[in-house]
Point group: C2
Chain length 192, copies 2
């Protein structure tokens, strides 16, 4: 999606450890009118797929998930990273390894909010090695729900996550796919 690629080229910064910083519009400050346009693009791609629920993971997936859900008119449910007495005890769980924080954590989702009647669109800000997306797919599977696919804002296509998930037959729509990056710049996979 050219709009997003242009924004990454303009405002993204490649920092230490080859981290792409997009905190000015995506995952710290949220450019709501801009992300709403991205949400509209996810809607265009999945509008005929019978989506009943959007699933994401806290925290930085929540904004784009809500702005996307506004087009579909469906609820968002977000997997929680910390145990909390705000949700009931009866939960689905999955393990995620965070390369950013270098630890494994358990994500939780109330069984009440994902059922076999649901047709799920998974939304997240990043896809790299795929740990979070695979964990979200496990939650959908455990709930007996069906997955229409995933909508990813930025995929690091030089990392294996996208390939692993697509090899499972899951549709993955990424709005920008990075082929390579370093401190001198970012190159994208050409759109089909």
């Amino acid at each position: 999606m050219k709009l997003l690629e242009d924004r990454i080229l303009k405002d993204g910064k490649v920092g230490a450890g080859n981290v792409l910083k997009v905190d000015s519009f995506l995952n710290h400050q949220i450019d709501v009118p801009f992300l709403s346009e991205l949400g509209g693009e996810f809607y265009r791609r999945y509008r005929n797929d019978g989506i009943t629920k959007i699933l994401t993971i806290e925290a930085s997936g929540i904004g784009i998930a809500c702005l996307t859900a506004a087009y579909f008119g469906v609820p968002v449910v977000f997997a929680k990273k910390t145990p909390t007495n705000n949700i009931s005890g009866d939960v689905y769980t999955a393990e995620v390894y965070s390369y950013t924080h270098e630890r494994t954590y358990t994500i939780r989702l109330s069984r009440e909010f994902l059922t076999s009647d649901d047709r799920v669109l998974i939304i997240d800000d990043f896809l790299a090695k795929g740990s979070a997306l695979l964990a979200l797919l496990k939650l959908v599977h455990d709930a007996g729900a069906s997955v229409a696919g995933a909508g990813i804002v930025i995929e690091k296509a030089y990392q294996p996550g996208g390939g692993i998930v697509r090899a499972q037959g899951v549709r993955v729509e990424s709005l920008a796919r990075i082929a390579a990056m370093d401190e001198s710049g970012v190159a994208f996979v050409p759109e089909e």
Copy 2:
């Protein structure tokens, strides 16, 4: 706001420790069309206040903050609860005591995204003892920005947070104010 009070009466559950569970629409599953109506009400109340930015705190403030910001056409910035290499080192910080998790944590906000030019609306899902809201106000103050006020979805009016913050001269608009609650029900402060 009657729409919200009715929803709390219908779907809220008072659980152990007098926790109000509204995880079916507010802070785990997010009823996006419904929260968008709440966002429209915050807009009605603050539309003439020159808001340039909406500030919230991860994770459960992000959804309502984004859906509110969509009306204002301004960015959201959310304070982070965990250190991360996704944001720059130059941050404002404040301490929050979580009664839910029984610990103090440090919230962080990049200095880049809150400046003396900003007129800030703080949005959060709950106001009880006020620890999170006071911390967000400290971030605004440290940035030299001005605060137009706070927009809270549910205020526990029998707890001191709202009074403490209003006594500082800060406008607080809560869409539902709970006067008392226990397992037999929830009573609201009458709307003025």
